[in-house]
Symmetry: C2
Subunit: 364 residues, 2 copies
Amino acid sequence: MHNENVYIFLGFMSTMNRRATIRDVAELAAVSVATVSRVLNGSELVTGITADSVRLAAERLGFRLNSIGRNLRSTKTQTIGVILPTLTHPVFADCLQAIEIKAADSGYGLVIATTSYDPANEERASELLLRNRVDGLILTVANANKSRLLEKLDREAKPYVLVYNQPTGAAKHRASVGVDNRLAAKQVTEHIIANGHRHLCMVSGPFAQSDRARARARGFADALEHANLPATAPLQVDFMRTDIRAQLFEVTSTRPTPTAFFCSSDQLAIRVMHSLRSLGLRIPEDVSVAGFDGITLGDWLTPALTTVVQPTNEIAESAFTLLKSIIDGERYLGSARLHHTLRTGGTVAKPPDHPAQSPKKGTL
Amino acid sequence: MHNENVYIFLGFMSTMNRRATIRDVAELAAVSVATVSRVLNGSELVTGITADSVRLAAERLGFRLNSIGRNLRSTKTQTIGVILPTLTHPVFADCLQAIEIKAADSGYGLVIATTSYDPANEERASELLLRNRVDGLILTVANANKSRLLEKLDREAKPYVLVYNQPTGAAKHRASVGVDNRLAAKQVTEHIIANGHRHLCMVSGPFAQSDRARARARGFADALEHANLPATAPLQVDFMRTDIRAQLFEVTSTRPTPTAFFCSSDQLAIRVMHSLRSLGLRIPEDVSVAGFDGITLGDWLTPALTTVVQPTNEIAESAFTLLKSIIDGERYLGSARLHHTLRTGGTVAKPPDHPAQSPKKGTL
DNA sequence: ATGAAAGCGCTAACAT
DNA sequence: ATGTTAGCGCTTTCAT
């Protein structure tokens, strides 16, 4: 019927250096823009026939909805922002991947920013996303109890859900999804102790960068106390920036020599094992090592890494679902403490009968 | 001077459930919206005094620029889209991280989507980003020579830069950044051969999902041919979905037994090593393994993984810079073939004097 | 140096 | 069931 017009328009549009708008579609389909909008949004109010002609016109013109126009008008963007410390750590990368799948599934887009564990970047990152008017945020901050960014989000009543963070005390109202870090850390530590170890050392990332690390250190302390073992201060290492071999040499050559190391993350555990081996120590014959996170890769190592598994996909999905209900106006929603599991690999075993051989000085 | 008004407005705005707009700022500063816009965009045309009063008003009102309004008007979004197969693979996660840092640095936002290596998802993902009118795209597709998505981008003259993909032939015009996969693969293979191996097996991800894998397989074949060794077909494994142990058992129990494995990625190499070890083979005493990518983690393994290192950060930065110049209107820009390096770890050594011991049947 | 006014593409009242 | 119209927040001529 409109065939002639169609071709005229096609030629017209392809000549123009401008994308077809809803208006062009309306014109070609000989309906109003409102009708086109309704069809685009799947409104039931439109007759099948007109709807078809609109869809045809849209296709002919290579029409693609301009989300910006829609967003400006509807003050919703169908986009959520994700702020994470880094993607270099598999825990966060895998989490983001899971969020992306879930979001895409629900028709949401994702805009992301990373902070390199620096609260100053949290500020910058959030402003970028907020200017883009994301509907809500999924994020991991350095400290969920004291965070300028979270105060801002609270003040502005911007929906957000924390992942991995575990706010406590006055910050308990903040929506979060993750495992019970303290309890989980206590349990791995107990597992190590159950293997017969009496001299344990915790190796942790910088406390200032991670409330998780602090919570895990408390769980570590809990287990020691419960087993009547003397408390030992965690060794804090900035393993992203510095070589940890020297610090480990220090520890392994001080009496009483630790026979087991609990690391605050799997990534750190892998680095620690590497350093220990380079100091001439075998794992687990001379020294045991456990991690935290449950990254897939830990399972492919030989021996496989003993660790606490956080259910990454569940965390991501749960966070997204929770965020969406907050966005949709439900308030006073609780946080989710998800189940963790202990994965016993081969890196934790009985301590050696004789005190660990003193490490070779090697190339230190 | 305007102190009284200021407080009235402050109370006003905080009572309102609406963010301050440029108009509110203009009113409070007693200037026009145009002036406010100029100040916000750092125009030189505004007097210092008026600029200050605008900035003051903006701060008082807690004004935050609405990018959506700006984007709609200026038809630029200062946002780039990133489409990658997965973030579960450190190569892509690290690349995305590097892109994010570079983009943030240049005031660009990032919207992302993943495809799970499925071209159908490439379509979905790209539509999401294009509806959001990203200024350009950085992406890795399954096949850079034959891609519906890339044809669409070409047709629409949408700026994009491929990463890791290496288009050839008729697709050579497509902007891309990465290493010479074929050459690099040839060189690792030569390194393996130089260690004395005569029976090599390549283990690869599915060719259909990755033109890189295909290019690397060609490099592998090049090296075999150059050394007058018989060509062997790569073992294609879908290691994300299936257990590869059975397939490796097959290979290691067929004569001539391979003494070395070249894997199309580090992640795959790690899985292969795990499977080989579970078959009772020691690395590198019984069998050598090499990877491709140079993920950081390979260095922390014991022994460290022998592999080709792709310069992830340079790839990301180079891709962003190239994309930006395309966006800024420069045409006919070449692609970048970046340098790769061979990282010799401990996983490749001389083949055993006697043919590799036949693998234990174990729990198979 | 600053202002007035148009309009980017879309949705949502309201009207019919 | 469909059309008319106002306007979301901003930038950008064009005036002055």
